[in-house]
């Protein structure tokens, strides 16, 4: 069999991946860096594109998009862009594995991938008061809104913001899924529709700033929506960034909490967007905290296994990823694993129940809240 090189096809495939495959010199660091077991043959996938072949590897759908491989790449190739471009290509060819299509329908019908009622999205906030002309618009994320455990993060966040004198608003019924799972399915037309709707709802409210509890939402708003003509006119911040600013300006006062903790950098907050110091500064601002770093941190952070749609599908290959990270928490003997992502909390908490470690998995906001006597 001879593979005929078609320079035009090659150029087209490479451009879909924003040019990244051209930069790759095929050293293979990516493949052996893959956190999954078995690993995704990343190098071969990229080689396919370089030769002008659509890489029809079903393993692509197991990718948790942690971009650890991208962080290890000596040529600085943004591999996450390449891998997503392949999902788009495969979606166009209707080569989507079971499960993904169902989730798209669920998002389409319910505005969230859980299939929960739109009306209950803000049930967690029934006793809270919000401003109509807020300084800050809090965009909640589907998982946080419906998950009883994660609702505490939202409540704590609103309480802290309001205690600091910040006018907080929410979209209420107008809020819908950010489109993260749609993004990873490669259904870009649907994603475009979602992006435009969300952007216009947010713009209508005219907040000074949008804050998100999910790094996935944050990444989409900041880096993906603009590509679909839905760039937000106001700054988008993750809540740790906003809180760190409040801390710096003296509006946020932290309390005291005697606890040894470590911090897990969520992929989409850290590796993708470079937010490393804000969460650490918040944690370390709490009196009595004994902060320890895990072996893998910042750009080298590991993953909860929940990205790339993984949290919504049964992804057995990712389970080892989750467990490795929990082992690292245990290694540094932290009394709590602090992070800043609803996916991370959900994934780690679930796996931790099986592994039996005693430390809780909590959000940075919850550390602050507990230091002030809250939950």
């Amino acid at each position: 069999m001879v593979l005929e090189i078609d320079f035009k096809v090659r150029e087209m495939l490479v451009q879909k991946a924003e040019g990244e495959p051209y930069t790759c010199y095929q050293c293979g660091t990516c493949t052996v860096s893959c956190l999954l077991n078995p690993e995704i043959p990343v190098r071969k996938v990229i080689r396919n594109i370089q030769l002008g072949v659509v890489p029809r590897y079903s393993e692509i759908w197991k990718c948790i998009t942690c971009n650890y491989c991208g962080a290890m790449c000596p040529r600085g190739v943004d591999i996450s862009k390449i891998l997503r471009s392949i999902r788009v290509m495969l979606y166009e060819e209707k080569q989507v594995p079971e499960g993904f299509n169902e989730i798209l329908w669920t998002v389409y019908e319910n505005g969230n991938p859980l299939g929960s009622s739109k009306r209950e999205r803000f049930s967690w906030a029934s006793d809270l008061e919000f401003s109509d002309k807020p300084e800050v618009l809090l965009y909640t994320c589907c998982l946080s809104s419906y998950d009883k455990r994660l609702q505490n993060v939202l409540r704590s966040l609103v309480n802290i913001l309001q205690a600091a004198g910040v006018e907080v608003g929410v979209l209420g019924e107008k809020e819908s899924c950010c489109g993260d799972v749609v993004y990873h399915t490669g259904e870009d037309y649907f994603l475009e529709e979602i992006a435009l709707n969300n952007a216009s709802a947010i713009e209508d409210m005219k907040p000074d700033v949008v804050i998100t509890v999910s790094p996935h939402v944050y990444h989409l708003f900041k880096n993906v929506y603009p590509k679909f003509g839905a760039k937000l006119s106001m700054p988008v911040m993750h809540h740790v960034e906003y809180l760190a600013e409040l801390l710096d300006s003296g509006r946020l006062k932290t309390g005291k909490l005697n606890m040894k903790v470590t911090y897990h950098d969520p992929c989409y907050l850290g590796r993708y967007n470079g937010v490393f110091e804000a969460p650490r500064s918040l944690i370390e601002a709490v009196d009595g905290i004994d902060f320890v770093e895990m072996e893998h941190n910042r750009m080298d952070t590991l993953c909860c296994g929940g990205g790339g749609g993984g949290i919504w599908t049964e992804n057995k290959e990712a389970r080892g990823v989750t467990r490795n990270r929990l082992d690292e928490v245990a290694e540094v003997e932290a009394e709590a694993m602090v992070t800043a992502c609803p996916y991370c909390i959900r994934m780690f908490e679930d796996e931790n129940k099986i592994m039996g470690y005693t430390f809780p998995v909590i959000d940075v906001v919850e550390i602050l809240s507990q230091s002030m006597g809250g939950k």
Binding site: I5, Y22, Y25, G28
Partner: protein
């Protein structure tokens, strides 16, 4: 204009530059920030690709620097400021106090008592080994005295001085805590920056867990582990548990070619990693895996080294490791072999990382102090491709890794090139010699004075010095004997001179330490008294006696007496000699007018030596005339060529076009050259710049199809290649048929690919390994990828014709990275043709006796340290004639050749040690045996008619003396008679217990000295006789030793290595091995026990091999009875 050149950095770059400049007659101020010169090279174990012992080949150069009358070395010093203009700079230097004075004798007592222990930076500084606060950086360190690391020392002078342990034990009072920092201001004409490099700290790349897993080492630490003087005595042991390593992983590109650390290639890691792999195998590691990205074995002889590594069973994988993990004490690594896509997880006992080479950590500060620019990576920026060793400030030059990673050979070339530039600013070139008036002329009847040194308690603590003095007085010819506490102190040297004068002594024997370090000191004493310095000898009773027999004072005393007696009995044979001066013609001939010849001629003429250039074509420039743009800098070839033509003309080079050399006769300093136009020229030195021929492909039907062109054709086409789809094929005529890498082609090919891509063409490159080893080259490679050039990787061991097939407008090749056979549309195919030796000048080579290497390129004197010298004195090589080079490298190489030629001629005479062969014409039977073994062609004549020595060519190894069947040739001081007297002197009492050891000066005697420095104890019975080279030893001497009753005899010398030997006389020791075999036959036939004669070859650091030999000799001696010795004597007496 000042006469001084400032050289910053005392590594091999600075050392080479200092020697070249000083030899040319400039004064050199060599500033080193550490306590000793030598740099990394002094600490390496072996150098690639010859596996030479690193310190063995650098050590003599270090010694030369220290002793050179034109070189001043300032250690622990940093340059703070440089003001003024070329020719007249003022430099400000800050020198830190050493706290130890030159009175130090390296006895080591201070280190023993020092209470502070810190990790030894020489072994990587991670605690693999430790040192004290007062220490010596390595055993052969020069300047050779200790220093105090004041940051580690308990004292904080002058105010806080709680500890005085070192002061109390120093018998020389050499420790001085009152020393203050010094500011030195000097005028210099020009500056050479040779500050070397650092390596990236692998902790910056967490995935390798360096610093966390103890068995993950840097390549430098591994080098030290392999070294006999290193922390494990040369064994490959795991730092974690001391176990032998069975399975080893070597990882290249740790931070190199990595956009987050060092985007460029570090250039020498591929080679040393292959070297480490081979060495590991030799050290007993069973399983060695080495990971590469591209195999960059681009230098001369490197490709063969790669093949050899494969033959040795080393697993060479194109792939990268996963993050390291630990499992049951082993290092667990996943690796994808990218040429077959197989992913494996393996366990290793040890992993060695090759970290990226990065700028010296002081570079920022230094560049500001010097007012020079740095490049984007922080290395020194060089001015332009035509000026690869010029910085951005006139009069300031750079060589070696200060301007980017470079191996030793490339560094040495740059050092020479920088010197020839720096010399142009220097006022007057001359070598200063000490004044010496020979007043003691009556030397016929020996009047010998003996001085026995205590060296504090170093000698006197073991040897009964008084008894040695008493015994000396009884020896024939001795008229004066005395002991001195420190014979080498300035006061003692003056005292010895006074005693010589007062007692009219005409021979001097000093029993002290090693002649290698101290003979010059006592020669100075003789000169001060008006005595010829060649009438001085030493008995090494410290390194070879008191230090190594510490617990046997009586035996050590007896040995000291034997050594003194041997020196005394030899001394009448010493003759008052004079340094030989051979007059030279101050004119250089450059053969070849390509870019190499042009730049060499221009530089030589500019440095003030009349230069003649001969070019066979009617125009200058050679291949450069056909080139359009030079990669990787994208510089117009014409501009570079025009610049050098103009420089050559401006400098007054006499140019003969359309002319060839017809005949060359003579020798260094005095050649007679006849040109094709009938002219004859007197020439002092010749530079061969005969260039290369581009390979004219016989592959791929080149010549039959206009669509198939070469890189050179594309240059001629000014990159106007027709068609939309262009495919380049690499390595056509390179890396095949015994030929190595042609070096220039990868970069050139990529450069053309980019230019074609810019024109909107589809471009593919089919390659074996991408070898863009320069900083700019690697950037170009990345750019080509980003611009969409398609790279297809094919098998790197098979010839390209087997990898690639051309079928109607397309190219077929097996892409290893995808495992697919790919078909690429091709409207034009560009063959990256390599470079071949130019054979047109072969008749000149034959006349000059210049040899070629296996590939047909000109053979250099030494692949590392002599890259521009041929094996024939006075004949130098410039440019690609030596091996393929790109244009920058060619210019550098040519300038280095010019530098050597200028150094050779600038004094107006060649100077030589007078230890050269002398033929007794009456005895000589004109058999010609000596002619055949002389490594230098210094003995000329016709068999059975006449034989004579050309003093200018003789280097004094004594191979001829050893070979002469009738003892008609000798080297002063090393004739048969004097060595017989030494043997008798050493065996005078209880000779049947004392084996005789012949030791060559450069390696085995140096190892004996080092055994002393390490205080390694061995049996005292053997007696060592020093000779210049083991090739001096022959059956007569061995027979004499047995006849005088020696129980055993050992011949020791430098090692024989894969590609030659460590020998300092051009592999003369091959004769040693040959003769040894025939001697073995003789004693076997005579019925003498064979084991009583042994041959042992080892390098200077292989102290263990030396001491093993001593133990072996002692064992044999004990097994030999008096009767056996008598029997041997009677058997030998019967032989003619």
């Amino acid at each position: 204009m000042s006469e001084w050149i400032l050289i910053i950095g005392g590594g091999i770059a600075g050392i080479q530059a200092a020697l070249d400049a000083a030899e040319a007659g400039a004064k050199v101020l060599l500033v080193e920030k550490g306590p000793a010169i030598g740099g990394y090279m002094a600490l390496l174990d072996k150098t690639f690709p010859t596996l030479d012992c690193s310190i063995c080949i650098e050590g003599p150069k270090i010694g030369e620097v220290i002793r050179h009358p034109n070189i001043e070395v300032v250690t622990l010093a940093e340059v703070m400021d440089l003001k003024g203009e070329p020719g007249n700079f003022t430099v400000t230097i800050y020198q830190k106090p050493r706290y130890v004075t030159p009175d130090c004798t390296k006895c080591g007592n201070c280190s023993d008592v020092c209470p502070v222990t810190v990790p030894f930076e020489v072994d990587g500084g991670r605690g693999i080994s430790l040192r004290k606060a007062i220490y010596l950086s390595y055993p052969q360190a020069e300047p050779g005295w200790y220093m105090i690391d004041i940051d580690a020392c308990l004292n904080d002078p002058p105010g806080y001085m709680p500890c005085d342990r070192c002061i109390r034990v120093c018998e020389r009072n050499a420790i001085d805590f009152s020393m203050q920092p010094k500011i030195i201001r000097r005028k210099v004409a020009s500056v050479i920056v040779a500050t070397g490099y650092d390596m990236v700290d692998p902790e910056a790349i967490p995935r390798y867990k360096y610093g966390k897993i103890p068995d993950v080492l840097t390549s430098y630490e591994f080098e030290r582990l392999l070294n006999a003087s290193g922390p494990s005595g040369g064994e490959v042991l795991r730092p974690s548990d001391g176990e032998h390593v069975k399975k080893l992983l070597l990882v290249t590109c740790v931070g190199s070619r990595d956009s987050r650390h060092a985007e460029y290639c570090s250039r020498f890691c591929c080679m040393y990693t292959l070297k480490h792999a081979i060495q590991a195998k030799q050290h007993g590691v069973e399983d060695v895996t080495a990971l590469f990205m591209d195999i960059r074995t681009y230098g001369k002889g490197f490709e063969h080294f790669y093949k050899r590594a494969l033959e040795e069973g080393i697993k060479i994988i194109r792939g990268r490791p996963s993050e390291f993990r630990v499992k049951d004490g082993k290092i667990l690594v996943r690796i994808e072999d990218t040429v077959n896509g197989v992913i494996k997880e393996e366990e290793f006992d040890m992993a060695v990382l090759a970290p990226a080479v990065i700028p010296n950590n002081d570079m920022d500060r230094l560049s500001r102090a010097l007012g020079i620019d740095l490049d984007e990576y922080g290395f020194i920026k060089t001015a332009s491709p035509a000026e690869p060793i010029s910085t951005t400030r006139p009069g300031v030059y750079v060589c070696g890794s200060a301007s980017g990673p470079k191996d030793i050979a490339d560094t040495v070339q740059e050092a020479g090139a920088a010197v020839v530039k720096a010399l142009t600013h220097v006022g007057k070139l001359k070598i200063t010699h000490k004044k010496f008036k020979e007043t003691i002329t009556d030397v016929e009847v020996p009047r010998i004075g003996v001085f026995v040194c205590h060296c504090g308690s170093n000698i006197a603590g073991v040897v009964d010095v008084k008894k040695v003095v008493e015994e000396s007085r009884k020896m024939p010819g001795v008229v004066y004997a005395e002991d001195l506490r420190f014979a080498c102190s300035a006061a003692s040297v003056e005292y010895i001179a006074q005693v010589i004068k007062e007692n009219n002594l005409n021979r001097l024997v000093v029993a002290a330490c090693s002649p290698a370090t101290h003979l010059t000191v006592f020669r100075t004493a003789a000169e001060m008294a008006g005595l010829n310095p060649f009438l001085v000898d030493m008995a090494n009773v410290r390194n070879l006696d008191s230090w190594v027999h510490m617990n046997e004072p009586e035996a050590a005393t007896e040995k000291a007496i034997d050594y003194v007696r041997a020196a005394v009995d030899r001394s009448p044979y010493l003759q008052p000699l004079k340094v030989i001066k051979v007059p030279v013609v101050k004119r250089i001939l450059v053969i070849g007018g390509g870019i190499a010849g042009l730049s060499a001629a221009a530089a030589a003429a500019k440095a003030g030596i009349e230069t003649v250039l001969v070019e066979k074509e009617d125009r200058l420039g050679g291949i450069l005339n056909d080139l359009y743009m030079l990669a990787p800098e994208d510089a117009p070839a014409k501009k570079v060529l025009d610049k050098w033509v103009e420089e050559a003309k401006k400098a007054g080079v006499k140019i003969y076009l359309g002319t060839v050399v017809e005949k060359i006769e003579g020798f260094a300093g005095s050649f007679k050259v006849t040109l094709s136009n009938g002219e004859t020229l007197d020439i002092g030195a010749i530079i061969l710049a005969t260039g290369v021929k581009p390979h004219k492909p016989v592959e791929f039907g080149y010549g039959n199809d206009p669509r198939i062109v070469t890189l050179l054709d594309v240059e001629k086409l000014r990159y106007e290649v027709p068609g939309d789809n262009i495919v380049f094929i690499g390595c056509v005529g390179s890396r095949n048929n015994g030929r190595g890498c042609s070096r220039y082609c990868c970069t050139s090919m990529i450069h053309q690919a980019i230019e074609l891509r810019k024109k909107g063409k589809n471009v593919a490159i089919i390659y074996k390994d991408i070898r863009t080893y320069t900083k700019e080259g690697e950037k170009l490679y990345k750019k080509a990828g980003e611009m969409g050039v398609l790279f297809i990787k094919v098998n790197n061991l098979r010839p390209m014709e087997e990898n690639v097939e051309i079928v109607d407008g397309s190219v077929l090749a097996f892409d290893e990275l995808s495992g697919e056979r790919v078909k690429i549309p091709a409207d034009a195919i560009v063959l990256a043709n390599g470079l071949e030796p130019n054979t047109e000048a072969d008749y000149i080579l034959e006349q000059l006796k210049v040899s070629k290497d296996a590939e047909g390129f000109l053979m250099e004197a030494h692949p590392k340290l002599g890259p521009v010298e041929s094996l024939v004195p006075g004949v130098l090589i410039a440019g690609s004639a030596q091996s393929p080079k790109n244009v920058d490298e060619t210019i550098t190489h040519a300038l280095a050749a010019a530098s050597k030629a200028v150094a050779l001629l600038s004094k107006g005479y060649l100077e030589k040690e007078p230890m050269i062969a002398v033929i007794d014409q009456e005895k000589c039977i004109k058999c010609g045996a000596c002619m055949r073994v002389c490594p230098y062609g210094a003995i000329k004549g016709e068999v059975r008619k006449y034989i004579y020595v050309i003093p200018a060519l003789c280097e004094g190894c004594g191979a001829c003396v050893g070979e002469c069947p009738i003892n008609a040739i000798t080297i002063p001081g090393f004739g048969d008679e004097e060595i017989y007297r030494m043997i008798d002197a050493m065996l005078a009492t209880e000779g049947e217990k004392k084996p005789i050891v012949f030791a060559c000066y450069w390696c085995s005697y140096a190892a004996a000295d080092n055994a002393g420095i390490f205080k390694i104890q061995y049996p005292p019975s053997p007696r060592v006789i020093r000779v210049p080279c083991s090739s001096r030893i022959n059956w007569r001497l061995v027979k004499k030793a047995f006849l005088s009753g020696a129980p055993a005899v050992a011949i020791t010398g430098c090692r024989i290595t894969e590609s030659g030997s460590d020998c300092h006389y051009q592999y003369a020791n091959k004769h040693t091995v040959r003769r040894y075999r025939s001697m073995k036959n003789i004693i076997k036939k005579l019925g003498i026990r064979e084991e009583r004669l042994i041959l042992s070859l080892f390098g200077a650091p292989e102290v263990d091999k030396y001491t093993e030999t001593m133990k072996e000799l002692d064992r044999i001696a004990k097994s030999v009875s008096k009767d056996e010795i008598l029997e041997t004597i009677s058997k030998l007496k019967k032989v003619k």
